[in-house]
Amino acid sequence: MALLEIRNMTHFFGGLRAVYDFNLRLEGGELMGLIGPNGAGKTTVFNLVCGFYRPTEGEILFEGKETAGLRPHAVTAMGIARTFQNIRLWNTLPVYDNLCISQHFRLGYGLKDALLRTRRFTAREKNVHKTAEELLELMGLRHYAQELPGNLPYGLQRRLEIARALATRPKLLLLDEPAAGMNPGEIDQLIDLIRWIREQFDLTVWLIEHHMRVVMSVCERVQVLDFGETIADGSPEEIKQNRRVIQAYLGSEELSHA
């Protein structure tokens, strides 16, 4: 059974066709890339997969189970976590709390336990704090535990967002332009980080990226979108040579001479 299977997924925003007949099969353990020019529908694909939008047509199966119609937090509970193109951290809460709250869906206690501080509350909170502590350590954020996310340098905010996603214990990690706004040094670190995360947490990583250096050095397979349609799918080397991809990015020769 595939980890993620998307069949004939199409999505319309009113009359605008954002994604058309999208297909993908991830077996698990891959490093998959999704690229395309601006406005190609990449982020929409991610929004569909994480349950933020419901596809107009087609189906999304995660470990054989349909996710369409589930609310995003329930999809997260199934094992899909993501980061955002424009960093979306909880900025009035310290780094440590950011890592705790993303475990909200599996707290396993309710209002009553929170108020009475029952044994269940104590046990579950202990688990939450343990996971948060581990991630602080692993992701090198220990020093910033009580810092507000907004005060961290950009690269660390990206890293924290990944750590927050990991705190949900995902099987599939979606990274939406993780290298956006990073300097070359930070990008090198990011490349190592993504590879290391996959090994350490035994994950499947699916990423959207514009930085070709990241895509070419990290991804094992790349899918290219243009105007919502898949125009190519293959290894980075194949994609580099693909005529339609070059056309999508640079325009066709006839047009440029016109």
């Binding site: 937090h73 509970a77 993501r82 009035t92 809460l93 705790c100 709250i101 993303s102 929170a114 949900t168």
Partner: protein, 341 residues
């Protein structure tokens, strides 16, 4: 022992207060002010859940207070007194003493259910639009009460005095004061525990970024429902207590003016600061009383103070911090977040 020092201090404070009220060492007026402070603490700290911690803008808090006030009062009058409308008491009047917390809780539950009127729309709208809905709910409650003649309509509802008196017949103690002290302490304790648990911090995540909260695993609908119901339920209990201070309520008390007053206390104390809300409820109530000699001019001076505050300290007195953050030494005795480790 250290961890519960706050509790012990509060108990001691309450006992002393009850003792001096019982022996009339402070006059009835001062007792009244103390009781209003308690009510205002419940109101402002419960509204802070919505306006401060969850970042929504509710301006109809008095509506929920009205629901609680009327439900508790009607239950008490119906059960424990002989009334022109409801007939002879169903239970022995002396039972009022033991059952008062139950009827108060019933008022709170009714108010919490009324809170659903706001909670459910909040799934789809937020910000200004939700504020309009809270305003509408305030009006719906007030107008409904005004138009139910059986409970006095616009003339108001009375008879709670008799309930309080029958409590006094059992044991001669300032019962209203006692209940207010109990439920004020309870409210602060509940909110403190709620917002300091990972569970409760889910609502702060909603304030900071609702989309991220929903996608990163917070069941935002459930949390909004919990927050609105908790907040309005506590407001309802404040209403129930309020009704028993003077023994008389009328719908005119629970207008948008009252809601505004509570909002002022929240913003004065600081959004998302529990100790701020408590502090500002005390200050605001005392200030209003101190300015009483100014008569009508009071309502010029108080808003003026508010303008000055907003200009020079827009985040309120404490603003997202607790007293223990401002005076770290306090932390030795009062742990603000009882961390589990």
């Amino acid at each position: 022992m250290r961890r519960s020092l706050g509790l012990w201090l509060y108990l001691l404070f309450s006992v002393v207060l009850i003792w001096i009220s019982h022996h009339n060492l402070i006059n009835a007026y001062l007792q009244l002010v103390v009781m209003f402070i308690g009510i205002n603490i419940i109101l402002s700290s419960s509204l802070n859940i919505i306006n401060g911690y969850m970042g929504e803008f509710s301006c109809g808090h008095a509506g929920f207070m009205a629901v609680g006030a009327y439900v508790t009062s009607i239950l008490n009058v119906w059960l424990f007194t002989s009334d022109r409308v409801f007939g002879p008491p169903l239970l022995s009047p002396s039972a009022a003493l033991y059952l008062f917390p139950v009827t108060l809780l019933a008022g709170g539950v009714a108010a919490a259910l009324a809170g659903l009127l706001v909670a459910i729309p909040s799934f789809r709208t937020r910000g200004d639009y939700l504020a309009i809905i809270t305003l509408a709910v305030n009006y719906i409650v007030k107008s409904s009460v005004e138009n139910i003649q059986a409970i006095g309509g616009a003339r108001g509802f009375m008879g709670m005095r008799k309930v309080v008196n029958s409590m006094r017949d059992v044991a001669d103690l300032p019962w209203v004061m006692i209940w207010i002290l109990v439920f004020t302490g309870l409210t602060v304790w509940i909110i403190h525990r709620f917002v300091n648990s990972t569970y409760g911090k889910g609502i702060v995540a909603i304030r900071d970024d609702e989309i991220a909260a929903e996608i990163m695993g917070v069941d935002t609908r459930n949390m909004k429902m919990i927050a609105f119901m908790l907040s309005s339920g506590l407001a309802g209990m404040a209403g129930g207590l309020f009704a028993h201070i003077l023994g008389y309520i009328n719908p005119g008390t629970f207008t948008i003016m009252k809601s505004t007053e509570v909002m002022v206390m929240v913003y004065l104390g600081g959004m998302g600061s529990l100790s701020g809300s408590v502090l500002s409820a005390v200050l605001f109530t005392v200030l209003l009383e101190l300015l009483r000699p100014l008569q009508v001019i009071k309502w010029v001076v108080v808003p003026l103070l508010l303008i000055v505050l907003m200009l020079f300290r827009p985040e309120g007195l404490l603003g997202n911090r607790e007293l223990t953050d401002v005076f770290p030494r306090l932390r030795k005795w009062f742990s603000s977040s009882e961390k589990v480790s």
